[in-house]
Subunit: 218 residues, 2 copies
DNA sequence: ATTTATTTTTAGATTTGTCTAAAATATATT
DNA sequence: AATATATTTTAGACAAATCTAAAAATAAAT
């Protein structure tokens, strides 16, 4: 089946939301898509008719197996294009999201297979997010949240979940990127903030809000 | 100013048609775009309002200077992406047109500048068509139509103007590609067909219709 | 120079995706 | 449990891009 750009964007957003919450509700999807609840309802009906969604009026909704497949091909395209933009074209990793949002809707599947091969079959995009393979299988890594790291232990940043410009600006300020080594020095119970040490940087303190979005592996 | 995918497609088609004819008329644009004359008229009004077109009802139309600029950025993107698809991803040159039709509408100008640089600033796409630079300047080559080549003389194929699948199928059959050396053996006055010799191939005869679409340089 | 044929434009309808405002349903509070 | 609040859906409107059918303008043919 074929999907419009708009449909693909809805499917992708639902996929991301249901990763966290299981069932998704109308308002949170509206917020995610920066649109109105009424528009969401309209689209939900369309997607339900296309067997992409399990949808019960007023109850909530989630993707069918088929819907997940569609979502994963869009996610796959997005992340492969991000990899291309950073590794081949030399973009900064915090500048590629919007361009990849457009590129992910190019339809040719032959294109994406050839792109994957050209890039050397990468498993993770420049933000550390796993790239689904052509069957929708997602590579797993043993990563944990920075807040869960034992005191005194060091680990490498493997992914960053919030990719807003604001967040990326912060990361740049702290000189944190994928692969950066971070040692957790101290946890402050008062506000959950963390004192950390980044190689070749003086120790510093980051808020719990930042830390929650940073994942690391040993 | 920003243009929709549909507007960009109209602008590009008008550009190509006015290269041949100066003024463009509604029906030929409708044929080129595979749509109806009424739809064309609707879009002409929109483009005229945006100062992209010089348009006089019932008379014909052509792009303004501004319109030409827009057309050239789309053509530039199309041809750079075609080059990428063939030279980097390994597509056959007759398979890339439809994908480039989608890629040419990705909006970021930073992307296209970086792509150009990544590709090594190519001047011609895989079909031999010149790639406009970021100012819209088109590289010139001294090429001539195959039908204008003197008898007995050999020359290299530099571009092919008709890029329909039918034409490309023919070219494949005759083993003609950009860079192929062709010697003109004989011209048949009866139907304008040409006997030609391609290196390492037995001599063969091609129709005038094919020959008119093939350009060569010495 | 009329008539005929072709081309182009208008008028009105359709589809997709969006919106606002109001109604319907579900959830929370007293 | 009844009422208040929040969420979700419906109803109806709008813009973009397209279409068909009919009208208007131009070009061609007798």
């Amino acid at each position: 089946m074929n999907f419009s750009v708009s449909e693909e964007n809805y499917i992708k957003s639902i996929y991301h939301l249901q990763q966290d919450t299981g069932l998704v509700n109308t308002n949170s999807l509206a917020a995610e898509m920066q649109t109105k609840a009424a528009s969401v309802t309209d689209m939900l009906k369309k997607l339900a008719a296309k067997k992409i969604l399990q949808y019960e009026k007023y109850k909530g909704f989630k993707l069918t197996e088929n819907g997940k497949k569609v979502a994963l091909t869009v996610v796959r395209k997005h992340r492969l294009w991000e990899y291309f933009l950073v590794e081949k074209l030399g973009f900064e990793w915090d500048k590629v999201h919007d361009i990849a949002e457009e590129l992910e809707h190019i339809s040719s599947s032959e294109l994406i297979e050839k792109l994957q091969h050209f890039l050397g079959n990468p498993s993770f995009d420049p933000h550390g997010d796993p790239i689904p393979d052509s069957n929708g299988k997602i590579p797993r890594i043993s990563q944990q949240n920075l807040t869960a790291l034992p005191q005194g232990k060091a680990a490498l940043v493997s992914s960053v979940t919030n990719q807003s410009p604001q967040m990326l600006e912060m990361l740049k300020h702290y000189k944190i990127a994928i692969g950066t080594s971070i040692r957790l020095l101290k946890k402050f119970d008062f506000d959950g903030s963390l004192e950390i040490k980044i190689s070749k940087q003086p120790a510093c303190v980051i808020s719990e809000q930042i830390a929650k979005n940073i994942f690391v592996q040993l």
